[in-house]
Subunit: 333 residues, 2 copies
């Protein structure tokens, strides 16, 4: 089996660290792992398969000899450095939002549209975390009966905003429990014991960028612009694991039992749906899991053709690192 | 002004304590406050207007001379003791779910259907917390353009499950932050840094009782069974304050600006909707507030006639104690 040279841009961040763990766990055939980061983090060490590797400073020349470059250091870094990587002959798998809606760049969830990856011109985009976990479960329903409209409410973990955000939740919670009050830095409001209905910035239509990502990315990955989508994205005090309440209007009627059957057969989905025993997916149980958890499946009593369900995924895995590595695997396995 | 004799059943519980605070704060004309509780709590003291009052044991004879009895000690207590209170000549205002869907019992939110209260036959029901705060904001929209369908996702505080639940969140959070793990007692799963998509028990159709309460109680309070409703009710690690993402299909089109105008004029509603400054209602800011906070108002991009909004209320106030006292005020002011 061939082995590949892989660069990780943003190797010291929350997703970068998770990328290294996932590459190890899935035994991706790697001859060289090249961790790259800003000058500030260069010189620190990361561990890969038990070996310490020095983090190098990201420069335009960082990609010589690299086969695949996994980017996870923010949109502006991807914008600046993906072209350098492509020029050096690498294929970029980009975790940021920068290229996602670029018509030249495929946006890929391997369980949903693997064939799109093959059409790349040097860059493949990895979707937003909340979209990635959702479409894995929607695809089999779409294929069976079609999807007309989605109303989504999210319950998103702080790790989606990076390591500093996890630290902020921890320190704020600790402070509040001892009668103190820590000012927010990462989030616009205190996140400890609160629910903040804003993720990313606001657009003119009153939606946030995160909410519109769920609309446009879902349509692009499902390759169907007729799917109508609305979302409310909310940050809650959870460290890892996004949860989503998904209300689906299907084109034809489908029973809850049939949806359960589809979920059992769906790649990347773990059906956990036993109300009698209070069994359904929970954020804390899915931290560190690759599969997306689906439960609370029921026929929507408010419309003729509708399904309600609850979807939980590790936002650092399926929502980021795992999906990126799965895209890589489409080429290297 | 006449003064009234008021009994509080469940005076030592989370809602009972809040009832006493709200009665004080709103200067309800009271000549006698009679706190009642189980034998276990009898003999303890509560404070009303600076005076200590002994909690008496609830018995069938507890209601002699009482004008209004506010019940908040669980459905089985209401079932057993409301009839005794009515027999003694008292009007019962019941916070539990026991009588809510009884066709003989009005279910009242004073901003929405005050006239229904006058039709009582001795018992008036107070709605479920998540329904009460929502209908206050829905009524003006319903009156303006009609409502066809609602898709609701809730972010509910632990205090809705009582004082023990608040203690459980506090102790579990503390334990987790110091590397421990406390087993859940009140909730079916750990609530600290988690999201639990189950409130109350499951019904045969896969919905929980809490979710179905939002359906049937909304229809009853709005006095329109044609309003289609679906809900996903979720417990999150917040102490006080329920948040709700509400997706509304209106009968006629309405603009976001017009909804904002309606909210400014609506009794019991506090419009807090300034995305440019990251202003929207937050659970922690609305703890202790009487008004329901509305924000994130936007035209739903997924359907022709739709509005999305975010609704936050103090579940112990508008969701319970305040609404009960407002019902009382319909008679005593």
């Amino acid at each position: 089996m061939s082995k590949f040279k892989i660069a990780i841009v943003g190797a010291t961040g929350a997703v970068g660290q998770e990328l290294i763990k996932v590459l190890e766990a899935r035994n991706v055939p790697i001859s060289e792992l090249r961790p790259l980061a800003s000058a500030r983090s260069a010189g620190t060490m990361v561990t890969f398969n038990g070996e310490p590797i020095e983090v190098l400073e990201l420069t335009p020349d960082s990609f010589e000899g690299i086969d695949y470059a996994l980017f996870s250091a923010g949109g502006s870094i991807s914008k600046e450095f993906c072209p350098h990587a492509v020029k050096a002959g690498a294929v970029c798998i980009d975790n940021t939002s920068h290229y996602r809606m670029d018509p030249e760049v495929p946006l890929v969830v391997p369980e949903v549209n693997p064939e799109a990856a093959k059409r790349h011109k040097g860059i493949i985009a990895n979707p937003n975390c909340s979209t990635a976990q959702m479409v894995v479960a929607l695809k089999p329903i779409y294929d069976a009966v079609g999807i007309e409209r989605l109303v989504i409410s999210t319950y998103q973990a702080v790790s989606g905003a990076g390591s500093d955000a996890m630290h902020e939740l921890e320190e704020q919670s600790r402070s509040l429990l001892t009668g103190g009050e820590l000012k927010p830095k990462v989030f616009p409001h205190p996140i400890a014991f609160n629910a903040i209905p804003q993720i990313d910035v606001f657009l003119d239509n009153g939606y946030t960028k995160e909410e519109i990502k769920m609309v446009t990315e879902t349509q692009k990955i499902m390759e169907d612009d007729r799917i109508q989508v609305t979302a409310t994205c909310v940050r809650i005090p959870v460290f890892i694991g996004h949860s989503e309440a998904i209300n689906i209007t299907t084109c034809e009627k489908i029973s809850a039992d049939k949806v359960r059957e589809l979920m059992v057969a769906a790649p990347g989905v773990d059906l956990r749906d036993n109300p009698a025993k209070s069994e359904y997916p929970l954020a804390r149980d899915y931290s560190g899991k690759d599969d997306v958890g689906i439960g609370r499946i029921r026929e929507d009593i408010s419309q003729a053709n509708g399904i309600e369900m609850w979807c939980v995924g590790d936002n650092l895995r399926k929502g980021a690192a795992l999906n990126a590595v799965q895209i890589l695997e489409l080429f290297v396995l």
